[in-house]
Amino acid sequence: MLKKSFFFGILCLALWACSEDDSGGPASSGDSFDRSAMLVNWADNIIIPAYLNFGGTTQALESAVASFTQNPSEATLQEARSAWQTAYIAFQQVSMFDIGPAETVFFRNRLNTYPANTTEIEDFIASGTYDLSLPSTMDAQGFPAMDYLLYGLGETDSEIVAFYSTNASATNYTNYLVNLAQIANSLTASVVANWNTGYRDTFVSNSGGSASASVDKLANDYVFYYEKALRAGKIGIPAGVFSNLPLPGNVEAFYKKDFSRQLALTSLQAAQDFFNGKHFAGNQTGKSFKSYLDYLNTIKNGEDLALLINAQFEDARAALNLLDENFVAQIEIDNSKMLNAFDELQRNVILLKVDMLQALDVNVDYIDADGD
């Protein structure tokens, strides 16, 4: 009889275990690395402050664009441009956090799909009817489209100002530019609001080890950002790494020209700071991939991966610093330096995607199939 009830007991245990419930419980304290604390550091000290900062710049951009279009002049154009630059730089510090509300609204794609599709933009302006929430219009909005509208419409500043004042379609140009600035600001405001009203807690409490847990998801987003948006988008694609010939037209901030290196460097710095858990404001650091790797290394006694990754970040930065501040010029003068920068960035893809994700036991994206 005892045997039977024991059998029944373990069968129940088996049934319980085989039911598909792997919701993450609360984090345990103790000696183990506290993933929850890492999520809190990410959310409260890095992600939300970065978004708040970016939100301020999109707010300023919206007003600068408004004053420029209400009163078009070379001086107000400069102010709008400067607000655009500030915002574009601040964007590099949030772009990698493509999770939660940002993921829902396709934040990165709506704000920074480049090259801008100028034909489509001109068509939209000419017709005055468009729906920028459609996925097909990603390349007609955001910073790249504003880049075109603020820098690319004419040869000289006065020519550009004319598009918003004396041009037959001046109203349409004005409306479009205003619209883009408004969308950028409202998208950012909605993401910030979401983080502040609930998503922060969702994010922090989802501290489990499953594929849908915050650490695993953001680790994937982070590596994806580094590989696709930074390494490929900013350097590899324009340098022609993925095509037969270089594609200088695909440089970020193509019309502003002497801005692409600064954007790339900001993005790289943001990626490294996030890796090290550095607070957005100040030099303090908190729990991060780095400290997680250090913790796991005390178990594994392996090579100091965090050290190697940081060293590679430095090498990549050195390679970027060798480039002209205008990547279009760099590609035309000496593309080999671009290729070199790509290779340096590439080395960290391997360390981050293969070595770091393996050490953290994070599975590569969205694979919910069984293992054995």
């Binding site: 790494v241 036991d361 694979i367 069984d370 293992g371």
Partner: protein, 454 residues
């Protein structure tokens, strides 16, 4: 024919354990196919990818568009037929063929437990699992039997024994036993489990899990065979598989193994299960048994005996084929599959393909996400046969796009069991000049470390 072997082959045993095995196996397959479907995996794994990785020699097995759903439907219905014992031979044949077809469509999804299911269903083709407690036996009194040859049940025990024992042998290597790898990587990420979470951070726990896992796999077939240790062994089976289910994303496999090992129990135990089922479905089991009991025993045709013997023989030998290849098995994976090497290593890689125009020296890199799903890319990045097949696919692809003569190289890095990533394929080898075969792949960079053991 008085030899011990002939005697053994004619020895009868009660049919109940095999009937229970058939019913549970069929039902679990129905369940797992429904789960597969409900999770959207048919769409995601077989319909969404534009390219599929084929097994060598089975390139003709491909997903068939929307018709793929029909294969799953046929597979599910035949599994139900197996459970019911309805047109059993046809059902199990259909199940074996459709299930194996599904598994052959894309080797990205290879799992040992899928292979196990193919093996079991192939074996069941030759077993009289429908003689007792089945629709067939109910409809055809001549077929019905209370006794079947004892070897038929033993063959399943042997197959299960092979799975465990070989999984145990595979763990007898220095990474598993002396570095506690890959458990040292896998266990700490379960930090959020109640009670266990903290323990799983400890190095002694990683070693304890590694050693007891190996010991479990090696000893469990024998503990299950021996009557006095059987209940203990079964408790171990449940605890072991429940743990693996809790710790790893392992799907329904633990459940399949727990239920399968019931076959080691004697007929009395299975009669109780059947009695319970009879109660639920209001089948008069006792009346049936009374009719069947006096029936004389069955003889097996010699062809069937030969096929089963050959099959079991292959099962014993196949996992050893890796010794024919030079190099580290975990690194090259030559002879790795179909060998019950389960949960044995943590491997990840990165493969960047370079398309070169030999005339001009111009080159470009391939964005793998243009052709592969993230799952396929992950699996491709550390398995040489995937890398080669994909390289040829890229060659065809870019030739068709009019890129003219071209060469394809790969820059790849692989990390194994927590070691730093190392170059995996010689970046100077034009993969288009290499052909898939059973021969050793000389273009794999040798493993820069040593893993001792089997």
């Amino acid at each position: 024919m008085g030899s011990p072997l002939a005697k053994y082959l004619d020895k009868p045993t009660e049919a109940a354990p095999l009937a229970v095995f058939r019913i549970f196996f069929g039902l679990m397959m129905v369940g797992s196919l429904l789960r597969f479907w409900a999770n959207g995996w048919i769409e995601k794994l077989y319909l969404e990818p534009t390219f599929h990785f084929s097994y060598y020699g089975f390139e003709w097995v491909r997903p068939l568009g929307a018709f793929t759903y029909v294969i799953f439907l046929v597979c599910g219905l035949s599994a139900l037929g197996v459970a019911l014992g309805f047109k059993y031979r046809l059902s199990i044949l259909t199940f074996f063929l459709s299930f194996t077809y599904i598994e052959l469509m894309d080797k990205t999804t290879y799992l040992n437990h899928y292979y196990f299911i193919s093996c079991v269903s192939f074996l069941m083709l030759f077993l009289p699992a429908h003689r007792y407690f089945s629709v067939d036996a109910w409809r055809n009194k001549k077929l019905a039997a209370y006794y079947i040859p004892s070897w038929t049940i033993d063959s399943i025990k042997v197959l299960l024994g092979i799975v465990y024992f070989y999984a145990g042998l595979a763990k007898l290597n220095s990474d598993w036993l002396f570095r506690a790898m890959p458990l040292k990587i896998w266990l700490p990420s379960n930090y959020d489990l109640p009670l266990l979470g903290t323990i799983l951070q400890e190095e002694w726990a990683h070693f304890a899990f590694s050693w007891s896992g190996a010991l479990y796999d090696l000893s469990i077939p024998f503990l299950l065979l021996y009557r006095k240790t059987r209940w203990f062994a079964f408790a171990m089976v449940v605890i072991f598989h429940v743990l693996t289910r809790v710790l790893f994303p392992i799907g329904i496999f633990p459940f399949v193994m727990i239920v399968s090992t019931l076959i080691f129990f004697d007929a009395k135990f299975h009669h109780r299960i059947l009695l319970f089922l009879s109660g639920v479905f209001r089948i008069g089991k006792e009346k049936w048994d009374a009719v069947l009991l006096p029936k004389k025993k069955e003889k097996t045709t010699s062809m069937v005996k030969w096929v089963v013997a050959l099959f079991i023989g292959i099962q014993f030998l196949l996992p050893w084929r890796y010794v024919l290849y030079p190099g580290e098995l975990f690194w090259t994976e030559e002879g790795f599959r179909f060998s019950w090497r389960v949960m044995l290593m943590e491997k990840a890689g990165y493969a960047q393909f370079k398309v070169v125009n030999p005339a001009t020296g111009n080159y470009f890199y391939v964005d793998n996400s243009d052709f592969l799903t993230p799952f396929q890319e992950k699996q491709m990045s550390f398995q040489p046969d995937f890398i080669l097949e994909y390289a040829h696919f890229l060659g065809d692809q870019f030739k068709a796009q009019g890129h003219g003569p071209l060469e394809i190289y790969v820059e790849s890095y692989v990390a194994l069991n927590g070691r730093m990533s190392q170059p995996f394929v010689y970046p100077t080898v034009n993969l288009l000049n290499q052909r898939e075969s059973f021969a050793h792949k000389t273009w794999i960079v040798p493993f820069q470390d040593e893993i001792k053991g089997l």
